[in-house]
């Protein structure tokens, strides 16, 4: 296990016009569960390949416990990886598969046959796959195979870091949560440093102690899941995380409407963002008591996601002068109703953060897909 430091690590494919990964720095603590979250094309796979030694950074250094490993091969870095689909040695039994990384390095780490057998028993016990040990990979289900692949990655007690490359992609949605639980429990019990790469926010936010949200070859924010959700440091983060993502309302900085100043929006804010559940709907005829920001609009669509205390709850989509707004909560309006959206809580985004909108068309599809997936998932 190791403390991992990326020091201004950047990468450009030879001959490429633009770098795939802009120089970035991040520290991953010993024993931490860390997630890299981003849409496809964000550069997270490149970053993973840099960590695993498949690629060599064009700038910067990668330090494992203070040692510069940038130029070392993957096997010299003593790390393990779990891939998108289960990678097992097909001709070996499950027990031999688990033992493989220890046997292959026997000359280095001096493990005896008894050490290896007891480690196999321990890891198999943790993953509850003892009954599979004598079988061949092809007799296992995809879920069981991926469990074994995870087990093999955890075999070496001295492994510096375990990289997980979207390990739940191939697993059936119904068993995803189960594998995620096992993974999280093992990570905590064994105290292994894990880096989990995924485009699925649910996986990242439930697994990780800290999440790094990536887009366009940059890490936009590195923080705890809660922090990332509640205080996105970048519009893209607010937009990408949550289903649906944040609402954004543009503010004219030259002449901001008085209600913005009254409700505490930054002077320099270009846009404010708010989560669908941070807003509520009011009847236009009601007398407003608070000075909160509000916009009148017309209900366009109601998406019911469930019920609470017998009443329907979900997302109401409202067309207003500032654009389409999504509000999550009880659904008590019908399509066509005139209504007011009131926001009690928001995040201000200033000039230099405003680069996110061009992600929106592609990103919004992703978010909707994600929400559909995670709905079936839970």
């Amino acid at each position: 296990m190791a403390n991992i430091i990326l020091d201004e690590v950047g990468f450009a494919y030879p001959g490429a016009f633009e770098p795939t990964l802009l120089p970035l720095s991040v520290e991953i603590k010993d024993g931490e569960a860390f997630a890299l979250l981003g849409a496809s094309g964000a550069g997270k796979t490149t970053l993973l390949n840099l960590l695993s030694g498949l690629l060599v950074p064009t700038t910067g250094r990668i330090l494992f416990d203070g040692v510069d490993v940038s130029a070392l091969s993957g096997s010299q870095r003593n790390l393990a990886q779990v891939f998108q689909f289960p990678v097992l040695y097909e001709s070996l039994t499950i027990a031999d598969n688990l033992a493989f990384p220890l046997r292959a390095r026997k000359a280095v780490n001096g493990f005896s046959a008894a050490d290896i057998a007891s480690r196999v028993a321990k890891i198999a016990g943790e993953l509850e796959i003892e009954n599979l040990l004598k079988r061949k990979p092809k007799t296992l289900s995809l879920f069981q195979k991926q469990l074994v692949a995870i087990g093999r990655a955890l075999m070496r007690p001295d492994v510096s870091v375990v990289l997980l490359d979207e390990p739940l992609t191939a697993v059936e949605p119904r068993t995803k949560w189960q594998l995620r639980q096992s993974l999280k429990r093992l990570q905590e019990e064994l105290g292994v440093t894990m880096i989990y790469v995924t485009h699925d926010q649910t996986e990242a936010l439930t697994f990780a102690d800290r999440v790094a949200v990536m887009a366009a070859g940059k890490i936009l924010q590195t923080a705890s899941p809660q922090e990332v959700y509640e205080h996105p440091a970048h519009e893209f983060v607010g937009f990408f995380i949550g289903s649906p993502g944040m609402n954004f309302v543009a503010i004219d900085p030259a002449a901001p409407a008085p209600m913005y100043a009254a409700s505490g929006v930054d002077q320099s804010a270009q846009r404010i963002g708010f989560r669908p559940e941070w807003a509520r709907l009011e009847n236009p005829s009601e007398q407003r008591m608070s000075s909160a920001a509000h916009w009148p609009g017309k209900v366009q669509y109601c998406q019911i996601l469930g019920t609470q205390d017998g009443a329907p709850v979900g997302v109401t989509i409202i067309a207003s002068a500032v654009g389409e707004l999504k509000v999550r909560g009880p659904i008590n309006a019908i399509v066509g109703d005139e209504i007011v959206v009131v926001v009690d809580r928001f995040v201000s985004f200033c000039e230099e953060q405003y680069i996110a909108t061009h992600y929106a068309p592609r990103g919004s599809d992703d978010v909707l897909e994600n929400s559909a997936n995670s709905a079936g998932d839970e």
Partner: protein, 298 residues
């Protein structure tokens, strides 16, 4: 679990064309040979039923036994060289890039040459008076002459077969190797696997299927080899390189002994069938064991 499917006997009509084709292309000719093999045919009107006499005679014929021994030795030799060499060549090929297609085409060239031309090429190439190889070896001080020395004739034949057919094994193995996803190599590298372990545990399991095909094809083809030795050595010197099919041809076409030749053919055919059957089953045994195990556990 049984699924109830409705029976419809008209489906047999759909199988009829295949049955006809197989009957005319394989079964009827084969049965004609079987028919010949149990008769003594003097001329068209005087034929005698002789039972299994021709079979007994063939199996006791020392020339048949010798040719059979040479055939087995030849097939095993070329298999022992071509299979490992083919795998080695396939592993040496770049997996992608412009060179891959160029090299694949170059590899395929020997496979495209008609067999008697292959024989002729080597017949000239190895000649000790004008052939590049033959003269070269003699220049090096080796008294090489495949027309008089049986060992040299054998070596030339094996070299020719290796030249001709290693490409097939290499191409099949290459196809097998490209089916290994890069993640498998990456995983083995991270596990600290040695080069041998990568070959043994990552590549070999994936190659298994194509290697069975490669061995079967080469076993059958080399067991039936006729054209190239016929052109290259003509079975000589003496009978040193007379293989089964050549002896058979001498018997059937040269001496017109149709009865014994037919019995010979049937024995020959059954041997090839038996070899392939034993080989295929011994290889597939391993896989079926795994499947049964799965059924017991689930």
């Amino acid at each position: 679990m049984a699924i109830n499917k409705p029976y419809n006997n008209r489906a047999w009509l759909g199988v009829l064309p295949v049955l006809l084709i197989v009957a005319f292309s394989a079964v009827i000719p084969l049965m004609t040979v079987v028919n010949y093999s149990i008769q003594d045919i003097l001329d068209f009107n005087s034929r005698f039923y002789v039972g299994l006499d021709w079979y007994r005679e063939t199996l006791q014929d020392p020339r048949f036994i010798d040719a059979f021994g040479r055939q087995v030795l030849f097939s095993l030799s070329v298999l022992a060289i071509e299979i490992p060499l083919g795998i080695l060549v396939a592993r040496g090929l770049p997996k992608s890039g412009a060179w891959t297609s160029v090299l694949l085409i170059l590899l395929a060239v020997p496979l495209l040459i008609p067999w008697n031309v292959v024989g002729t090429i080597w017949q000239i190439y190895a000649r000790s008076d004008i052939g590049l190889l033959g003269v070269g070896l003699n220049e090096l001080g080796l008294a090489f002459n495949y027309t008089s020395n049986p060992t040299h004739a054998w070596l030339t034949l094996i070299a020719m077969d290796v030249w001709h057919w290693t490409s097939l094994v290499a191409l099949l193995s290459f196809a097998g190797l490209t089916s290994v996803p890069p993640a498998y190599y990456q995983a083995a590298e991270l596990d600290g696997a040695s080069k041998w372990q990568v070959f043994r545990y990552v590549e070999m399991p994936r190659l298994g299927g194509v290697l069975v095909i490669a061995v079967l094809l080469r076993l059958m083809d080399s067991f039936m080899i006729y054209t190239e030795p016929f052109v290259l050595t003509g079975g000589g010197p003496g009978n040193a390189t007379t293989f089964l099919s050549q002896y058979l041809a001498t018997m059937a076409v040269g001496q017109f002994d149709l009865g014994p030749a037919a019995a010979f053919s049937v024995i020959y055919f059954l041997f090839i069938l038996l070899f392939c059957w034993i080989f295929y089953n011994s290889v597939m045994l391993d896989n079926t064991v795994g499947d049964n195990e799965a059924r017991y556990h689930d």
